[in-house]
């Protein structure tokens, strides 16, 4: 392992190169673009084995990956915001067809108005697509999640696509000291599918349509599969910690500090929340795995606590809250409050976070504050 100063996007690209996907589809969109640019550098220097398809749109990116994965090879793409939204239709196909595609979502706000900066509305809006969603706190964790993601996706007990989410600009465009593994120590074995392949020697039909009953059953199976991925996600996290020496709590959630009040959030904002947790004496529960939602872990973490405050960069429009709050709300009968922060990349400085944490006691159960 070599520690080096690297941009978040470049660290992801380096790890993807090691993971050796056979087919990569690429379409530029800010702020995900540094990843395909760096992978293209590797290709031009003969350091990338996989074939890059420079597609005509994100819709075609996801479509090409579905075609490639259905044929039986490992695939990759990165995208953001409108790009992920354009993939929407195909995302549901990929998960239901149980194709272990892995993508990096560099989180960015959705239009309108057009805004290129970070929030989570893009990936949060795909939370019901049947994909596994993991959120990294820093670029090191995002790079490590990429390795874990392929292991999880291709595990015979899972066979689902995975989105690894990283905060746009805050992580994708900033430099950090990162351990980029030089080899993966056999952690991710080659992908050899037994369920889905397009091979003239073993013909099969993929993507058949279904009447009400088989449709209902296949959709139920998908929900069961997403749920059943949770123990595998934890297992892979633990094994990764053993092999690479880096651990992120328990895999599904990362619990930090002690206190009667719990602050729940995801992604890079948690780093400042952890600093405040030490200063103010509360606990941080960082959701690492958002889908499947680790409800039992969250319930356990919130048991007997005085209050929970959910900080998030997304809105579940029409519910009065963010999506993460609604998931956390279902895990506790105690007091829960919600802060909507950082939409469209609005800065969330540590002093603002500190002020918000100071307001929790005075807030009513169920209250949401939009913190500018």
């Amino acid at each position: 392992m070599v520690k080096k100063i690297a941009e978040g996007s470049h660290a992801v690209a380096e790890v993807v190169r090691l993971l050796n996907p056979d087919v990569l589809a690429m379409y530029p969109i800010t702020p995900s673009t540094h990843i395909p640019e760096r992978l293209s550098d590797f290709e031009s220097d003969g350091e990338l084995d996989g074939t890059i398809i420079r597609v005509d749109s994100e819709f075609s990116a996801m479509s090409a990956l579905v075609g490639a994965s259905a044929t039986g090879v490992r695939t990759y793409t990165a995208t953001s915001s409108q790009g992920l939204a354009l993939m929407h239709e195909v995302l549901f196909v990929a998960s239901a067809m149980r194709l272990p595609i892995v993508i990096t979502v560099v989180n960015r706000a959705l239009s309108a108005p057009l805004n290129i900066f970070n929030d989570w509305q893009d990936s949060i809006s795909e939370r019901d697509s049947g994909w596994i969603q993991m959120y990294g706190e820093d670029s090191q964790e995002v790079a490590d999640l990429m390795v874990q993601a392929y292991r999880i996706a291709e595990d015979k007990r899972v066979l689902l696509p995975v989105m690894v989410c990283m905060d746009g600009f805050f992580l994708s465009h900033t430099y950090d000291v990162i351990d980029v593994p030089e080899d993966l120590k056999g952690f991710v074995p080659p992908y050899k599918p037994e369920h889905a392949y397009l091979d003239p020697k073993r013909p099969q039909t993929q993507g058949a349509w279904a009447m009400q009953e088989p449709y209902f059953e296949l959709r139920k199976e998908l929900e069961e599969a997403v749920g059943a991925a949770l123990p595998v996600i934890k297992e892979v996290h633990d094994e990764f910690a053993k092999v690479f020496g880096r651990s992120y709590g328990g895999g599904a959630i990362d619990v930090y500090g002690e206190g009667d009040t719990v602050v729940v959030s995801m992604g890079s904002v948690c780093t400042n929340l952890k600093v405040l947790a030490d200063r103010l004496g509360f606990q941080v529960v960082r959701v690492r795995c958002y889908r499947p939602f680790p409800a039992e872990d969250v319930k356990k973490a919130l048991e007997g606590k005085k209050a929970v405050a959910v900080f998030e960069k997304d809105v579940a429009y029409g519910t009065g809250h963010g999506a993460l709050y609604n998931d956390v709300r279902a895990c506790t009968t105690g007091k829960a409050v919600n802060f909507i922060v950082g939409l469209g990349g609005l800065d969330v400085p540590i002093n603002a976070l500190e002020k918000m944490c100071g307001e929790i006691d005075a807030m009513n159960d169920g209250e949401t504050r939009w913190q500018r």
Partner: protein, 295 residues
Amino acid sequence: MSSEVISSGHSACAGCGEIIGERMVLEALGKDVIVCQATGCMEITTTPYPRTAFKVPWLHVTFENAASAASGIVEADRKLGRNTTVVAIGGDGGMMDIGVRALSGVMERGHDLMLVVTDNEAYMNTGIQRSSGTPKYAATTTTPAGSVVPGKREWKKSISRIAIAHGIPYVATASIGFPEDLVAKVKKAQGIKGPKLLHIYTPCPVGWGYDSSKTVYYAKKIVETGLWPLYEIENGKLTISQRPTFAPLEEYFTGQKRYKHIKPEHIKEVSERVKAGWKELEKQEKAGVDLMLLP
């Protein structure tokens, strides 16, 4: 009973021209093939889970992405060390309208793919709505012939011309009424590396409102009238496959409910278009090169 590639028992309508075209193409390609099918009649009539009519590897993803999904298939196939013939196939809606971006993308990128458009000139699967492949004056459920508007107002789009503008090595038109010509073109295309596009005319008895036994009649007749030219463009060189006899257009329009309202002045207008179109085609055949080399 069944062929090597597709079984009986599919639920295509009696007299379906599109499934004749699909079978002719796949039988010509042989078994070392992977098929990527756009949403449409050919998908819905063949693959009701948990059964399938297909005997070759077959994938359906969505309506508008058969070509881009096929580009992923072919690149994966090559990474696996194989050289399988990969074919993306869809109707006029899936390939000429909603899937035209994907189609353009794969042609521009040069994937080693067969692109097949089985054209029945409307969205038949959803109930005969107008597409860019619907010919002028044809009535559909979204361009009905009324007291003021005589069916579709626009001319049919030329997907072959769009294809050749990408500089791809092979583009051809065919009709199921001329199976030898169709099969020869499929086989020739299969032997060419890179993207190749076949635009196949496949009549639809239900959508056009004619007796189901007349599918082959109309597939032949349109070629005889000159309204559907059979040609191929190989490396930019246009060759006409068959000269029409310029049979009267009435012989083609008659018996199709979609043209029931058509008036002599409409037929005259179409007829003039056919004449002008053939003049252009023959000019291009003589000139020798029809490859868009500069933007």
